[in-house]
Symmetry: C2
Subunit: 103 residues, 2 copies
């Protein structure tokens, strides 16, 4: 269906893809970290996008994750804020971003 | 107006008052911390309460804080998640809670 195709297209055509909500502090935290690291990333605000709720449902089916932020790096599903912060604290985020061509 | 009166009543009649949204991880963090500390606290989920958006507007006028979580202890405005965590890290939260009769 349209939303799933759109989500997959966004993920495959962006080294870093962040599905977010504009009012959400957990999403802000991830976006701020990526900005601080100088990474190139694409954001879709699901509360602003006209088909945002359809995209959120499609992501839930595809990744088994219904929540935001929902982060992909190099086409791979990373997870939410905790997952991203965990990778960063373990020194694994920068290598991932570099490998994906985002840094 | 009704929502402001309701907000003030909740704050004055509860040692700890947390205005929250059920889907928000920043709110969950504050509620979890208070639970871990064994504190007695009252929560209103503004996304669930029928007059939730009116209460949020009233709180914004009253405290100059439009966001959630919005936390009061002993009738005093504490602030959001960062404020609560900051007090906790500074060892100031438990004394506040004790003083307010929440512990
Ligand atoms: N542990 C998760 C928490 C994710 C979460 O609960 N996100 C909330 C917003 S903070 C959410 O998506 N709620 C449902 C919604 O907004 O549709 C993470 O680290 O990302
Ligand atoms: N730094 C603030 C962040 C507060 C914040 O931005 N909260 C968001 C949700 S995480 C919010 O209230 N957004 C607007 C809304 O939900 O009405 C805190 O520590 O509490
Ligand atoms: S909505 Fe508050 S942290 Fe996501």
């Amino acid at each position: 269906e349209m939303a799933l195709a759109k989500a997959k297209e966004l993920v495959s055509s962006n080294p870093v893809m962040v599905f977010s909500k504009s009012y959400c502090s957990f999403c802000t935290r991830v976006k701020q970290l990526l900005s601080q690291l100088g990474a190139n990333y694409k954001v879709i605000e699901l509360d602003v996008e006209s088909d945002g709720s359809e995209i959120q449902s499609a992501l839930a089916e595809w990744t088994a994750q219904r929540t935001v932020p929902n982060v992909f790096i190099g086409g791979n599903h990373i997870g939410g804020c905790d997952s991203v912060m965990g990778r960063h604290n373990g020194g694994k985020l920068v290598p991932l971003l570099t490998e994906a061509g985002a840094l």
